[in-house]
Symmetry: D3
Subunit: 137 residues, 6 copies
């Protein structure tokens, strides 16, 4: 059996967003996205759980220093998205619809570049307590 352990760090950010496909008419957008299509935006308290998997270092007993993981999330994800309008204030969602699925994939790609390649990475994102997503599945 593998000696791998998964470690998880939970963080959160608050943001406004709107679901919208600019290639569609207002009517189609409204049919598909409902009240999430509101042109003046709505918002969420996003809860983010980052999972990192690998073998614990024998000297520290850590897969990864949780303080370092928390700092990476803060520097590269929270500082970018917290208290922002995802559609208007961020490069990532100027063209890309900020669904929970797409936000999770974007956060994964951001974090992947800053975490040791020997470690596996997965992102879970709660849009509400009742709706959440995980990437990669």
């Amino acid at each position: 059996m593998s000696n791998k352990v998964a470690v998880f760090r939970k963080e959160h950010f608050n943001a406004a967003h709107r679901l919208h496909n600019p290639g569609w008419t207002d009517e189609v957008n409204n049919n598909v996205f409902g009240k999430c299509n509101n042109p003046n935006y709505h918002g969420h308290n996003y809860e983010l759980i980052v999972k990192v998997t690998g073998e614990p270092d024998v000297r520290t007993g850590f897969v990864m220093d949780m303080k370092l993981l928390s700092d990476i999330i803060k520097d590269y994800v929270l500082d970018k998205f917290d208290h922002k309008n995802l559609n208007l204030d961020t490069e990532e969602f100027r063209q890309l619809n900020p669904t929970a699925e797409n936000i999770a994939v974007v956060i994964y790609r951001i974090l992947r570049a800053h975490i040791d390649t020997r470690l596996d990475l997965q992102v879970r994102l709660y849009e509400t307590e009742r709706n959440f997503v995980e990437y990669p599945a």
Copy 2:
């Protein structure tokens, strides 16, 4: 001792908002409200707990039918605020800063008009898991 029982109903809505005092300069607004002053808005999953206090009806054992209370909250609060931009989409916060304190007072006043005057009313509003308010105190 009183025979009064308090009953609580929890509901939630998602909204965008921005904290801003139009009588102040941008600099003062930024100093006071920090990142909550972002001109493009941010948002929250608001959790709302409505407390109604009175004597249970001997025939039903209810202080108030929770289904009715839930419907009142839905019709007069959630339909007005859910998936909205509080500053732009609602009459109530066109002039009034949508802090958690002010939102709670507004929701209290809305609900008070629809609940039997023999019953006491209190509103608790969670802006995040870590910041919440109660009115009347």
Copy 3:
């Protein structure tokens, strides 16, 4: 200012119940209690929070030993209601409609007899995460 401190203990029990007024027709019962009137019962995970208020003992620093409070709740409330059908299996609700309000009052009266009269007592009962009650209010 008073030196009083409130201490809270959370316990839980699972039970079946049915809301029903035997003095009413089936139609009235169904109109008033809806699906909670199902003749074959439904059930809940009840979460119970017992609040005891008084001055901490200077020798122990305790308002009341939480182990003792937990034992009292277990002996007089949980052993009576846990994994029971409230309507069929308990004396208390043979005539009394087991609404959350009535269950809270019954639990209060049971516990009041076993807790030092110099201490104040209050009961909060969650029927679901979204519906809960408190007695005395």
Copy 4:
């Protein structure tokens, strides 16, 4: 790496049930199922989390419309089990013991018939906060 994202929707229902094997004596049933064997039933607030996995649609950014998933769960699971006695009121558990394991498998099979076969499905069911199950494992 796969482009698959998992999306989760949380719903809940309240039901009564009793664990019982009709092929056994009362004594054996009592030894195996303990207080869960109470002939008058007990009950739970069941929390249900449905996980659907697939590639997001590039036009919507959705693996599956969460509103549609919620409606499917409501129409085919909640309307069948909510506020019911699982042993007496449902076809599914007339012969089958309503353990959390069996309820999860039954819900999985019900939902599987209504969800696009290109999407993977998994069900998590909380009987209490401390006891829960997942199918398929």
Copy 5:
């Protein structure tokens, strides 16, 4: 009716402690405090909720700036107690038994000195999810 609103801020700290009365024999200490008397200490994740009550400022809509309240809690409570052994590392509990009741009173007194006297203050402290206290009651 008063215009007062209560605002709440939730913070947390992790600490070791031991319940012990130095004026008692080991046997009495063990009888009264049980496994909480372990001479080598045990520990908790303490959740702290600070409630501040007053009238919202008409210019800000705030009873008190939550960022300021959070900073006060951090500077005067968390920096003192987080990741500490309450019995050994803190002045406050060198002579005083660190029960949840006493910790809440101590935190109240610390915070009271740093919060505007026109505002009311109350402290809730969770030692575990099942045991918590409130001061003043």
Copy 6:
């Protein structure tokens, strides 16, 4: 598709610990472990979720009797670690640094010896709500 179902049981214990590598200087220990290196210890409410996977028994509908699983966790894990100082009071962490990763591996090994080898086992351990681990990954 497999008929396997996973069942989960949640338990908790409270303990003190200190992160420390005796082969390092105090300065290195402090740099690596920060305030978790406090020589007088700090503590946590550990939440433990044990996952057991297998095919439900057709006679009971159980993968494993949750009462039995709870008793095994209580007898072999909680009685050993609850209200203890992990570094001083336990054999397991006299030489091994009690990080969440190492505690999860130790608990896995303890439980593995007491659970039917036809059943798979996984352990999730929450050190705080924001930091948790899973083994095997």
